[in-house]
Amino acid sequence: MASQTETMHRGSRTAALRGQSAFRRMLDRNAAGYVFLLPWLLGFFGLTLGPALASLYLSFTNYDLLQSPDWVGAANYVRILTDDPKFGAAMRVTFTYVILSVPLKLAFALAVAMAFNRGIKGLTLYRAIFYLPSLLGSSVAIAVLWRQLFASDGLINMALWQAFGYEGPSWISNPDYALYTLVLLSIWQFGSPMIIFLAGLRQIPKDMYEAAEMDGAGKARQFFRITLPLLTPVIFFNSVIQTIEAFKAFTPAFIISEGTGGPINSTLFYTLYLYQEAFGFFRMGYASALAWILVVIISLFTAFSFLGARYWVHYDD
């Protein structure tokens, strides 16, 4: 018995030793890798995960930046969901923006991609030019430019006056139109989904179209029976990415309304409202709660997209 326990002891000790050396060996083998990963790891833990967890804590407090946070439990969440008319306004604006801008942008991107796919001369150049707005689109300069274009005496109204003698309103500062100018700005940045669509279109075998043509299918029928079904994985990918992007849109509304979300909250994007609460009125706790609600909304949206995808996305295998 005694000898047995002794063996067990010895056994566990050797196992422990072995484990330690295995760990060391693993470390020896991968140390360089981890060191090379270090900048990313530091960034992830220090700049992403750390602040995210801190904001989760702050969302249960009142925090005005100058004094230490004050624990209030779920009060911020309760107020947002039951007693905050601006939250409702921001949700309306954001959902309108997402629902309008994502499908329109994708349709436009697909149309351009299909035009390119017919094999035109100088494709690389055109592709670069058409991609340009996407690189510039979320920049401050473009938002300022948009403001100039759609102001009361902007280029758009000048053109309308010249062409039709129509005196247009100040699109950007009219609550009836302001949001739609931002939707337009978003559609104009169709570059990245367009590139992805183009790659997807290239994947579709040419002989399918040839066969369809032999069978007498017209262009429209080819589009709906071949192009669209085979493109569904790409459409799915683009729509998920663009939806998330649209929920997170901030710069254009911030610049165009000078951070007010005006006129009359017509461009009060969710992120803009969050920013106002945080940096305009120094309610960091409340803003953190708003941010976590946005995280939940985006996650739900993405989850439903993936669940729904099995019914319409066709993976060719």
């Binding site: 020896d28 360089a32 060191v35 005005d64 100058l66 950007i172 500062s173 009359i264």
Partner: protein, 428 residues
């Protein structure tokens, strides 16, 4: 194994070299290095940077690094720097925010420096006290200003309508603006910007009616009917073509650059008197300035003298004495005062004001004369704004837009303004 060791030693060697490089670079500074932050236009930045350079000439061992932002970006930037324990030494302060910062311990009290490096005795009690919070001095008055009506006299005269003038009533102003609109020189040009959503203008109107934005107990100092009559007056002017339409007014981002006067949409703007310098710099036609119209000939003027801005020192500053030296240079030395001019308002010190006035150009002189002209009839400084007061300016702008775009009536606007304001103030 030896190869592994080599590789490891190389790695650790590299890491320690990295840490050496990161942690041993500073600690060279010996002379005082101060940081300063302010809000304002390019004009203000130019003047401030000249003053900083001149101060460096007088005190070569003090270096000041300045940064500036527009009004709306300024407060987020300052708050994050203060929260990050990285506050600038010298902080330009506003009368509305000094209470919040001082009461939260973010600013250094400056009482001990009065007479010792800070010569503000000839400011007069009111101008010193405008930098006090709960009896302690947390800010030094950088200039005195008041609300003002700025207008393009030639444009008014061209239409034959009577231009704004001292002692005019709101009723006369409205009639004149409407007359202007009927004979306007070009389409899309109006007599005046729409001031219904501007808090300082609304406050002036309230004070003329012996009301105020806030009562002594920190509650609202006005009622729905006060807001409604203010909205109604502007609604009348707007509907008769006397002021810019709602969508043009909505382009105003509450700064000089986007005001309807500067963008060539209107002949009149409602502003702060120190901004007159900036307005004239951006407008080709010669501008004039006068007091607000009054609700009746016998009503108070509604004006008060306000510190256009204050200079404060951060509670965490390591060089309060040097910071105070610089503040003194700005407000009590002829060299500094001359460089700043009246762009931040009229100097509070009588001696400085007198020596400056003789050197001013016509634009600045007109501004000093304006302050002198309204001073006999100004009221007292309003009480400390309560917490949450800053948000109400935005609420007023939004509700005024709902009225201007015809979504609600002026009466509904009054009700909405008061109920939202009460909600905001009740919020922690």
């Amino acid at each position: 194994m030896s190869m592994m060791l080599d590789r490891r030693s190389v790695l650790w060697g590299g890491l320690s070299a990295l840490s050496l490089a990161t942690f041993h670079t500073p600690a060279l500074a010996q002379a005082a290095r101060l940081r300063m932050i302010w809000w304002g236009s390019q004009e203000r930045a130019d003047r401030t940077n000249k003053a900083i350079a001149a101060f460096k000439g007088a005190k070569p061992d003090i270096t000041i690094a300045g940064e500036f932002a527009g009004w709306s970006d300024y407060w987020p930037r300052l708050a994050t720097q203060v929260a990050g324990r990285n506050a600038p030494d010298l902080i330009q302060m506003d009368y509305r925010y000094i209470f919040e910062y001082a009461r939260r311990g973010a600013l250094a009290p400056l009482d001990d420096y009065i007479g010792k490096g800070l010569k503000i005795e000839d400011f007069g009690k009111a101008n010193v006290d405008s930098g006090r919070v709960d009896g302690k001095l947390f800010g030094v008055n950088l200039g005195v200003n008041s609300s003002v009506v700025i207008y393009d006299k030639a444009a008014w005269e061209k239409t034959g309508a009577k231009a704004p003038s001292l002692g005019q009533t709101w009723e006369e102003f409205a009639e004149n603006a409407i007359a202007f609109g009927k004979k306007k020189p070009k389409p899309g040009y109006y007599a005046t910007a729409d001031a219904s959503g501007l808090e300082p203008s609304f406050e002036n109107y309230l004070r003329q009616n012996n009301k105020a934005l806030f009562a002594a107990d920190g509650q609202l100092g006005y009622e729905a009917s006060d807001v409604a009559s203010w909205f109604k007056m502007w609604d009348g002017i707007r509907k008769a073509g006397g002021c810019v339409p709602a969508d043009v007014q909505a382009l105003d981002q509450l700064n000089i650059e986007t005001n309807a006067l500067t963008t060539g949409k209107a002949a009149t703007a409602f502003a702060h008197s120190n901004q007159f310098v900036g307005y004239q710099a951006l407008n080709k036609s010669k501008l004039s300035l006068t007091a607000y119209p009054k609700v009746s000939a016998s009503s108070p003027t509604g004006h008060y003298l306000k510190p256009s801005m204050l200079m404060s020192v951060s509670a965490t500053s390591q060089n309060v004495q040097s910071a105070v030296d610089f503040i003194n240079f700005l407000v009590a030395s002829p060299e500094g005062v001359d460089l700043l001019g009246v762009e931040r308002g009229v100097p509070a010190s009588t001696a400085m004001r007198d020596q400056l006035t003789t050197k001013l150009d016509d634009v600045s002189k007109a501004m000093v004369e304006y302050i002198a002209a309204i001073t006999p009839n100004v009221g007292a400084l309003p009480i400390n704004p309560p917490q949450g007061a800053g948000e109400l300016a935005f609420v007023l702008t939004r509700v005024s837009q709902e009225v201007a775009f015809g979504r609600i009536t002026p009466e509904e606007g009054g009700e909405r303004m008061v109920s939202e304001a009460k909600n905001t103030l009740a919020r922690k």
